[in-house]
Symmetry: C2
Subunit: 376 residues, 2 copies
């Protein structure tokens, strides 16, 4: 059964929305943060732990799974759900983001993108059709259209040509997509330019996808202000009854700002990446557990957190594990950090319900940044 | 409450024994395999997973914990159980094994052993008293006496002097041990020499420890035959009502051969180390999941295994995780490999009960080695 979305409520003071993703008889409330499981595993976590922290949809990377183990292996396994033993909803990206970081501009043609396999240097060619074919075989519940992901430094002129091609690519991908159980999303590009975002949104939504994402944000060198603009310029032209997905964004403040601007779902590797480096989210900001001061702090990372790590382990112990490169430490921090973002989304949803989302943002900024946060 | 041991049954055809370790109102049957948690964590596993695979006692390393985080930190945390959130029994080694691999012969004196901290090169000095003091602070349930661990190549003459000093060290350690809740074990040395093992066993047991281990086996270069001899030469002089512990041994066939010769408990890093390298135990021998042939094997490692990894994951998926260096793969294999050894001990105990231990060994050898196993 294809995944679906139901919009339940619209905030009157902001563009925030409450809704739910329906999948296999279960409801997953939005706004929602999606953990990333690049290689069909959310790094260090079991599927049971992914669920225990309250995750809904998770994301897997088409590019990585295409290279290894290969989409045919995953298909033979019965698809991603069976392969990785996860029965919640799974979204796959198109592979574009990874491919464009490996390709040179001259390798991008109307047909597709030529690039070198980062593992063995082989030349590969990815097209909109191929991306959809791979995602079909992977058996995700939401597939993404193959889009060009230009760098933050791309000019208006370049972006204009790029989004036109991306729209043609989206149409080509949709044409070959023939899996009635898999939703297909379109991607809106256009950098920080109002006219381009508007054009991309209008033309992409004309193709009538099952949902839409805002891409080309969270690139290296992009300012938060540009990211927020990209959202603001896109959402007015996105249909209300379909999921809105801001790709690759996971900084807590960006989740709040994104929701305020009308985004429903987010994904990012940051909670698990921070975890592997010994960092933990707290209401009072991020802390680095490698710091010597935690050596003898026999208290949880956060007294009010309900995650497994906070219920049973101290900063001192987790610090010890991280310093010793014991993977159980990265696992405890991954659980905590994902739970932190999932709880943040829970709190955001409550605030929308109560009509206090802007007050919630102020309180969050006060605690997390000591009141000193300014959008730049 | 101090841990205790009860001998329940003696096999009539071999020297195998059935018994139980009593700790905190719970019974842990012997013969038993103890997983190793060097840094107060069994690599990749949570305490819940350690229990789920049926582990009883686990081992933590005094040397490593002394260096980091330091015994004072562990003591302030409330001891190892609280520090690592494990309420089952914990045994600590003396630090001797690690220290002797770092020390040069001239650094060994009657007083103790001088060696360089492997982390920062600082000169450290470990004595029998210091080892006990550290283990007291760590708060393990079983502490080990500080012993010299000579290499497999040590001469009879050297070993003779060494075991005499080890016996004096054992007496010194026992003198300063004043923790009524912590058992203290003596260690029998003597290499593969009957006269030395006998002497060491008789003199060490005179000191009346809570249990005894057979040390100086499983060294680099030692043959299995020498290991079995060391056991055979020691057990006749070890009291029947106390635990017998063969240190650092975990090869499945050695567990069977050790039990046949009267050993109750074993420890080894091998199941978790093999796991991190992608190897899995099966009844038909070890397999290396990195091998290409497992790429599309959508079946569990062992159909008859009841572990979490075998219940929910295929060889193909675990292989994928291992190839991609995803730690969840090492976790699944660690669970499987420890469970394999724990189940082996369960099967061994059943065979003792039924009087069929020797038949069990034959059947195991037939499957695991294809019948081609020969003790060398």
């Amino acid at each position: 059964m294809k995944i679906s979305f139901k919009l339940d409520y619209k905030d009157s003071k902001t563009n925030a929305r409450l809704g739910k993703v329906l999948f296999n008889g279960k409801e997953y409330p939005t706004p929602m943060f999606m953990p990333v499981g690049t290689q069909a595993t959310v790094k260090t976590l079991s599927p049971e732990e992914i669920k225990e922290v309250g995750s809904g949809i998770i994301l897997a990377n088409t590019y990585h799974l295409w290279l290894r183990p290969g989409e045919d292996i995953v298909q033979k396994a019965g698809g991603l759900h069976k392969f990785m033993n996860y029965d919640g909803p799974i979204l796959t990206d198109s592979g574009g983001y990874q491919v464009f970081s490996l390709a040179k501009p001259k390798d991008i043609s109307e047909e597709g993108v030529k690039f070198k396999n980062h593992l063995n240097g082989d030349t590969l060619f990815l097209t909109p059709e191929k991306s959809i074919e791979i995602q079909n075989k992977l058996g995700s519940d939401i597939a993404m259209s193959f889009d060009e992901c230009p760098p933050a430094s791309a000019s208006h002129d370049y972006l204009k040509q790029s989004i036109e091609r991306t729209i043609r690519w989206a149409a080509r991908g949709k044409k070959v997509h023939n899996n009635p159980n898999q939703a297909l999303f379109g991607i809106i590009q256009g950098g920080p330019y109002e006219d381009l975002r508007k054009y991309s949104a209008i033309e992409t939504t004309k193709l009538n996808f099952d949902g839409y994402s805002i891409g080309g944000v969270a690139n290296d060198g992009e300012s938060k202000l540009d990211m927020y603009k990209a959202i603001e310029y896109s959402t007015p032209y996105m249909p209300e009854d379909k999921l809105r997905y801001l790709m690759g964004v996971g900084d807590p403040i960006d989740l709040i700002e994104g929701v305020i601007r009308g985004v429903d779902i987010f994904d990012c590797v940051i909670p698990t990446r921070l975890a592997r480096h010994g960092h933990a989210y707290t209401k009072m900001g991020k802390i680095n557990l490698k710091n010597n001061q935690y050596k003898d702090k026999f208290e949880p990372i956060d007294e009010t957190c309900d995650c497994y790590a906070c219920k049973s382990y101290t900063k001192a112990y987790i610090r010890h594990l991280i310093v010793e490169n014991e993977t159980f430490g990265a696992r405890l921090l991954s659980i905590h950090n994902i739970r932190f973002l999932v709880r943040l989304m829970e709190n955001i949803r409550e605030s929308i319900q109560k009509g206090t989302l802007l007050e919630f943002r102020e309180e969050f900024v006060q605690n997390y940044y000591g009141g000193k946060y300014e959008v730049k």
